[in-house]
Assembly symmetry: C2
Homo-oligomer: 231 residues x 2
């Protein structure tokens, strides 16, 4: 049997950019599990498991059991494999959810800034739907307009990172000396940005950048092996 | 000997409004400790412990040892009294610091909205310094101008609470079934607002409001016994 992570891919099927799939990938590695990844484009998601199982990834096939949603997968792994905790007890679960929810606000803020770059990298058959849904979500602004605004939006985005920056001033990872699921959840957001866009989200002298680089090196450079978007 | 919490007070010395002192008060109660509070106005802080000890509160006199800073006090209590954990291990410390740092961004956002109300409640001898320092911090805007803007600022403030709201959708406290220091840290922010100002920061149907009410009831209504600001 074994473990398979269904992982969102671009037109180039080796390019994996989903922030949620990255969370899961690092969570599986954290638990010391061997797994393969199976690339799926947006259009292919609905066929996972024979169809009717999911409209989103990640999905993990764990010895024949299909588990979906990055949070539920992490909770499943924590129960199935209690060694090397991802959360750290009941209080840790709630605290981690807080960080994950905060991460969602980052994803939401970054989306308009990155969406044209994503469009250019996804499978051609996904682009028309992607453009239409994302421009609708942006109140009708074109992907090109959204990209043009990002320079002006960057300072406010970097200001948003203040709680993360403050936390990392005192320790190498949110989890302390070693990373936990909260690290992976936020890492996924910046890894997504790194893989889909050459736009420099993080300033070089930001402690958040130094933390991100440490995360890229985890598990034999699992994150770093995925190439950054070319400029 | 015993334990004394030096607690910021208003012109009415029974009114205690410091968000940082509230964190400490609940942390002491969480550890099951008996303690007294000693009210100090802004002007009196520098005389604590005979002088030269601190310019901020909370300060805790713990059997003759003076410990300052709400974070350091919580860490001290966790080490001194490991039962009833406030953090939940090393990962919990980092995760909690993240929530605490996020709480600081709330305090910063609320300050201009509440600062005139605070001014009106602090000791008369503290007011001139308070007005000058707060108006300077606000780029020269008067306290009256800052208060006048708050209705317009409220929707964005409530939007900021999204990660907290999302976390509390799944559990009664950030810590899960029971509160932890992260709950107390954020509670302190809203308790401060409740004690200094009649302005309704939280909408009645907000799950954050329901959580705040639960926090007010903790430890035999320790928070609720402090009267809310009259309108």
């Amino acid at each position: 049997m074994g473990i398979i992570l269904y992982d969102l891919c671009g037109a180039d099927r080796s390019i994996r950019f989903s922030p949620y799939c990255w969370r899961t990938r690092l969570a599986l590695a954290h638990k010391g599990l061997d797994f393969d990844t199976a690339p799926v484009t947006f259009s292919e998601i609905k066929a996972i498991g024979g169809g009717g199982v999911t409209t989103t990834v990640p999905v993990v096939d764990y010895d024949g059991r299909l588990i979906r949603d990055s949070w539920d997968i992490a909770m499943f792994l924590e129960k199935e494999r209690p060694g090397a905790p991802l959360f750290g007890g009941e209080a840790g679960v709630g605290l981690t959810e807080f960080v994950v929810q905060w991460g969602t606000t980052l994803t939401r803020a970054l989306s308009p800034m990155l969406v044209k770059d994503i469009h250019d990298r996804i499978a051609p058959e996904d682009r028309a739907y992607f453009r239409e849904s994302r421009e609708k979500r942006a109140g009708g602004a074109s992907l090109e307009t959204l990209r043009a605004r990002r320079e002006a939006e960057l300072p406010a985005f970097r200001e948003r990172l203040r709680p993360l920056r403050g936390t990392l001033a005192w320790r190498p990872f949110i989890g302390g000396k070693a990373p936990v699921f909260a690290d992976y959840a936020i890492f996924g957001v910046f890894q997504w940005a790194r893989v889909v866009s050459p736009f420099p989200i993080l300033a070089d002298d930001d402690p958040v950048k130094a933390w991100f680089e440490r995360c890229l090196d985890l598990f034999d450079g699992m994150g770093r092996k995925m190439p950054a978007a070319a400029g």
